[in-house]
Structure formats: structure tokens, C-alpha cells
């Protein structure tokens, strides 16, 4: 179940992974997008970390809400509203029930698809969020499962976002937003938020 502490720890871990892989994410985005995903995410998580450090939280949904606002206002580009909407959705669901991680992540996914209108298979972050939601439901979520779903975006042809302009040429490449979402779920697993 989500607590203020494990939520903060989760998001800090996420932030660190993004920071470490900033150049790699931009590199990926320069192949099938416009090369800024790492910079965008790094800017966002930096603001998020600063905001969370200041906050004096009683409930985990407050942490998620602040994270949402920081990401929304600092990432920019396509991923800003998407991460912002995901975290806002998660915050609202955590307010209902902070124990049901599956429901919380599913609310995050709903936030993304409502905003971005992408379906599974369009080579976006949805292609990581959606299998992870299923794994959470079945209790089968692992680091490997996360990495597999990230890796699987290579086989998809993009039809949403900037990569869609490439059509066939997007095949064989990782989706940058899928990779950054992968970090979010790796951090979640490493943070031992999910109850056995």
C-alpha cells in the first residue's frame, strides 16, 4: 500500500533514474522523435523532487498531486501533459483507496489515454503502462516484466506522437516515453510498494 514515505521514496528513485539516463532518453528520442525527451523528463523530475522535499504530507495522494503539478508544469512537450494526467489520476484513486496499487496505476493509465487518445500498440508509453496494469492485477509484475514490455515497443510501428511521421521507419527502435515509464515501474518495484 502507498504511504507518504514509500511514495516519496518511489518518486525520488524514479527521478534519479531519469537523471542518470537523461542523455540516453534524448538519444532515443533523437532517433524517432525530436531528441528532447531526456531533457524534458529531467527538467520535470528535478522540479518534482524540489517540490516533494518542501512538502509536509499527511497522505500519499498529496504527494502524487504535487508530483503531477510539478511534472505538468515543467516537462512540456507531449510527455508533460501525459505524466501530469497519469499522476493526477493516480492521486485521485489513492485518495479513494491507497492500498490498491493496481487500481491506482490503472487510474494513471486512464489519465494518459484520456488525454493522449493512444491505444495499445501505437508505440507510446501506453504500451508499458497497459501491460503493467495487467501484471499488477495478476500479481505477476517483475523488473523483467517491465523490461520486456519496454523492449516490445521495438516491434511496434508508431501511429501516435512525433514518431508517427516516420511510419515504417519507426520499427526496430525503442519508444522513449515507454523507456521513461519503465523507470517509473522499476522504481516502484524496487521501492517495495507492492504488497506481496
Amino acid at each position: 500500500m502507498l504511504t507518504v514515505n514509500n511514495t516519496k521514496a518511489w518518486l525520488e528513485r524514479f527521478a534519479d533514474k531519469i537523471k542518470t539516463n537523461k542523455a540516453y532518453l534524448s538519444e532515443l528520442d533523437s532517433v524517432i522523435g525530436d531528441g528532447d525527451h531526456g531533457n524534458n523528463m529531467a527538467r520535470g523530475v528535478k522540479a518534482m523532487k524540489e517540490k516533494l522535499a518542501e512538502g509536509d504530507y499527511v497522505e500519499p495522494e498529496e504527494v502524487l498531486k504535487d508530483a503531477s503539478m510539478a511534472l505538468l508544469s515543467k516537462i512540456g512537450g507531449a510527455s508533460g501533459p501525459l505524466y501530469g494526467s497519469a499522476f493526477l489520476g493516480m492521486s485521485k484513486q489513492a485518495d479513494q483507496d491507497s492500498a490498491d496499487i493496481h487500481a491506482i496505476v490503472k487510474a494513471g493509465l486512464d489519465g494518459i489515454t484520456k488525454r493522449g487518445k493512444a491505444e495499445v500498440g501505437e508505440k507510446t508509453m501506453v504500451d508499458v503502462w497497459s501491460p503493467i496494469v495487467e501484471h499488477l492485477e495478476k500479481g505477476t509484475v517483475t523488473i523483467e516484466a517491465v523490461q520486456d514490455s519496454v523492449e516490445a515497443t521495438k516491434d511496434l510501428k508508431a501511429s501516435k506522437g512525433r514518431a508517427s511521421y516516420l511510419g515504417e521507419r519507426s520499427l526496430g527502435e525503442l519508444d522513449p516515453g515507454a523507456v521513461s515509464s519503465g523507470y517509473l515501474f522499476e522504481a516502484m518495484i524496487e521501492g517495495e510498494i507492492i504488497d506481496e
Binding site: G76, G77, G116
Partner: protein, 328 residues
């Protein structure tokens, strides 16, 4: 990377400071934002707000002023500004007669501006949005994010800006904008890619003797890579694509924009225009205005784009309506 800059992550802020220093009589910056707004706004006129990622200068800040934009919102380089920035732009621009958002059709821009619209509406401001998607290099299919918004956006600023200045209502301006965007098409060619300061290398690479048709203004891929061609054959290719897309009919009247992409000398833009003129001479259509210059750039990209807009009756008057902006 050879650029006259300081820290790469400070370029937008420092550019805006320079812009306000130069043009402080006409514009001001909303404190703690990346919003540039007209200094002397006129009550009860519809406000036009545009913007997007930076790196397209003079778009959009250079078009803020009487007769064009009320405010421009600058994102990081090639990255849409966030909803809160756009919201600040909407609030700063609103004159009490509603706000029209002019958005280039990119996933990020559309989502961020739409969220800002929702936030502004929640605060009681009447907001409409217009999505510009003039780039015919990309097919408009359900398999892509749709056609991109490129240089034609500037024509939208000009024509709708005049309509707003003349006191037209938000509903009417929005309707005019919808018709305008439908009748406007662009296509470009790049000799080199742009280098985003924070990235430090060109968005793609072209050999010393190569160019690419259909490249987007953020170095999005085009439709055909080839050996460098003469201005005449580039004109032939681009005009033929536009001709096909418009399906030219005798007696139609068009407006034309040759847009330099940032590092293209004006000399070459005029040579290219001359070749476009020769191509159009074969067609039985009229060209009522021709604008030339680097208006919607892509940082240091070398290349040009060509935009045609099929004109309705009163649009030429709107085009010629006087403006007081920095870069028209």
C-alpha cells in the same frame, strides 16, 4: 556546435530578456513566465494567443503587437510550453472579448494548449482553439499524429490578427480561421538539420551533397532524400505537390509565402521565389500577395518552405491591414 549562447538550458530565458530589452515599448513579459504580451491592449477586442516550442523565431514573439498576436507563449526549444504557462498567456491576453488559441498541430502543443484552455474556462474566460496543420509533406491519415503545423501559422496570425483588430467576434474569427486553415498548404526542403542547444548535434545528418524534401520544422523526417538540386527543380517539385493538393482551378486567387528556415540567405529565398513564379506562370491562377523572409524558422536549419493559401473575397484586405509588431 557553433552558437552564440551561454548555458544551453538558459537560451529561452535569455532570449526573452533580450527581446523585451529591444522591444519594451511594444511588449512586456509576464513576470516569472515565458509569456510575451502586448503592452497597450485594446479593451473588448478578441485576443489571439499563440506559441509553442522556441527555436522558430521570429515566431511567435516577433508577431506580438497591434494587428497580430496579443500574446505569445514560449516553451523550451522545440518543446511545447506547459499548460500553466499557456494559462498565464491566456489571462494576460484576455481583453474581455474572449481568447483564440492558435496551435500548431503537434501532440504536445495540442495537449498542453487544450489543458490550458480547460483551466482558463474554469476561471471563466471564454476560449476557442484553432489547430493549424498546413504541412502536406505528411499524410493526414489515422496512422499519424496528423499533418504538422508549419509556416502557414504566420499567415493565420496575420489574417486573424487583422480580423480581431477590426473588432470581429470570437465566433466569427474562429470560423474564419477554420476556413483559412483548410485552404492553406505548405511544403519545405532542408539542406541541413537544426541543432538544438541542449542536444548539441544536428537532428539528422545529410551528406555534403544531399538535401531532403518534406522535412518538418523540428527536423521531423521528410519524404525524399536526394542529391542537392537547383532552385528551379526544387520549385518545380514543391509547386507540383501544392498544385496536386489544391487541384488548381482557373481564376483562383492565392497568397504565397516563401519562408527561410533560419540559415538561408535572403538572396536564395528570392532566387527560389523567382523559380516559383516561373512555375506558377504555367497555371491560370492569380497570386495576390507574396511574402518572403525567415518567419517560421527552425534554429539554424538551412532550407526553405513554400506556402500557398487560396484566398476568399475579403482576405487580401485583412492581409494588408496595418500591423505594429517587431518582425513583420
Amino acid at each position: 556546435m557553433k552558437k552564440i549562447i551561454n548555458q544551453p538550458d538558459q537560451v529561452v530565458d535569455q532570449m526573452l530578456k533580450g527581446f523585451v530589452y529591444a522591444n519594451g515599448e511594444r511588449v512586456k513579459r509576464v513576470p516569472n513566465t515565458t509569456v510575451i504580451v502586448q503592452k497597450h491592449k485594446e479593451k473588448n477586442k478578441v485576443a489571439l494567443v499563440s506559441g509553442g516550442g522556441s527555436g522558430h523565431e521570429p515566431a511567435h514573439t516577433g508577431f506580438v503587437g497591434k494587428g497580430m498576436l496579443t500574446a505569445a507563449v514560449a516553451g523550451e526549444v522545440f518543446t511545447s510550453p506547459s499548460p500553466d504557462q499557456v494559462l498565464e498567456g491566456i489571462k494576460a491576453a484576455d481583453n474581455g472579448a474572449g481568447v483564440l488559441l492558435i496551435i500548431k498541430n503537434y501532440t504536445g502543443d495540442v495537449m498542453n494548449f487544450e489543458m490550458a484552455k480547460e483551466l482558463a474556462e474554469a476561471e471563466g474566460i471564454v476560449v476557442e482553439q484553432l489547430i493549424v496543420d498546413d504541412d502536406i509533406a505528411v499524410e493526414d491519415s489515422t496512422h499519424t499524429a496528423g499533418k504538422r503545423g508549419v509556416a502557414g501559422t504566420v499567415i493565420v496570425h496575420k489574417i486573424l490578427g487583422a480580423a480581431a483588430d477590426l473588432g470581429m467576434s470570437l465566433t466569427d474569427i474562429k470560423a474564419l480561421g477554420d476556413r483559412l486553415v483548410k485552404q492553406m498548404k505548405s511544403i519545405g526542403v532542408a539542406m541541413t538539420a537544426a541543432t538544438v542547444p541542449e542536444v548539441g548535434k544536428p537532428g539528422f545528418s545529410l551528406a555534403d551533397d544531399e538535401m531532403e524534401y518534406g522535412v518538418g520544422i523540428h527536423s521531423e523526417p521528410g519524404y525524399h532524400r536526394t542529391k542537392v538540386k537547383s532552385s528551379a527543380s526544387i520549385a518545380e517539385e514543391l509547386v507540383s505537390k501544392l498544385k496536386q493538393a489544391f487541384d488548381f482551378q482557373n481564376g483562383e486567387t492565392y497568397g504565397l509565402l516563401v519562408n527561410g528556415l533560419g540559415a538561408t540567405p535572403l538572396m536564395e529565398q528570392y532566387i527560389f521565389l523567382h523559380d516559383v513564379e516561373k512555375q506558377l506562370a504555367n497555371e491560370d491562377v492569380d497570386v495576390a500577395f507574396k511574402k518572403v523572409g525567415a518567419l517560421m524558422t527552425s534554429l539554424d536549419m538551412n532550407g526553405v518552405s513554400l506556402t500557398l493559401v487560396k484566398l476568399e473575397q475579403d482576405w487580401l484586405k485583412l492581409w494588408q491591414h496595418p500591423v505594429d509588431v517587431t518582425d513583420w
